[in-house]
Amino acid sequence: MATIEIMGKTLNLDNNGHLANPADWNEDMAHAIAVKEGIPALTVKHWTVLNYVRRVYKQEGAPPSVRRISMESSVDTKELYALFPGGPGKKAAKIAGLPKPKACI
């Protein structure tokens, strides 16, 4: 199993490079993962999205699709792609310590 070194801890990753155990995650870790993903600083808007996807995951056991984030998080599609270059659904989930979303839309 692949691992990642964050803040002095060695954590397991799943096949997509996301944290294997979402319970390993905390807010400081989000910053560390974001930097590795090419996002130097997490803004308030980033956190609106991250908190939203974590809330959905907690309630439903799966992270939301990009479309759902755009409709429910108050951050629209254009902003999402600007905030999370390289795919907002999977990037947001990765930084939030969650598995990759299994959505086609």
Binding site: R67, D76, T77, K78, Y81, G87, K90, K91, C104, I105
Partner: protein
């Protein structure tokens, strides 16, 4: 240990939509938008009847083809009955709504906002006597097949 050859990830796709039925248009939209969600650059090129998906007055009125569509598992004559296409279309739209798949107009907007490019085929535009004003304002340009290939440099081309 054997040396593993790593496949190159896809960086760019050009999706051609050539059919104008509801089931002809959605696969291309989903493939192109799905590419953007993966961080892959994507453009959509609409040609022949596929252009119905970007013609302002038609894009939200596309129908499922119930005749000449073996996937419907319905005898051709039955599919030709009045109202059959409207019925199949309503069924499919209801199912898509359940799955949170947006209507065509909203889908184009989503793809455009995601940074995707949308083009119409010049040969088809000329053949059907259309102008830029007939198309959704989201259409970036009307381009020739040559321009399509230029814009698709380094891209995988997907024909639907």
């Amino acid at each position: 240990m054997t040396e593993e050859k790593k496949a190159q990830p896809i960086e760019r796709v050009s999706v051609i939509v050539s059919k104008g039925s509801l089931e002809g248009v959605y696969p291309g939209l989903i493939m192109a938008n799905g590419a953007r969600m993966e961080g892959i650059e994507a453009s959509l090129f609409f040609t022949f009847f596929g252009m119905d998906a970007i013609i302002r007055k038609r894009l939200d009125h596309l129908k499922v083809a119930t005749v000449g569509n073996p996937g419907m598992h319905m005898p051709t004559l039955l599919g030709a009955l009045p109202g059959m296409s409207a019925f199949a279309t309503a069924m499919m739209k209801r199912e898509m709504k359940r799955l949170d798949i947006p209507p065509v107009g909203e889908f184009l907007q989503m793809f455009h906002d995601a940074g995707g490019e949308i083009y119409a085929c010049k040969a088809s535009v000329d053949m059907f006597h259309l102008g830029k004003e007939d198309f959704s304002p989201l259409v970036d340009d009307i381009i020739t097949v040559g321009e399509f290939y230029e814009k698709s440099a380094g891209a995988q081309i997907i024909f639907t």
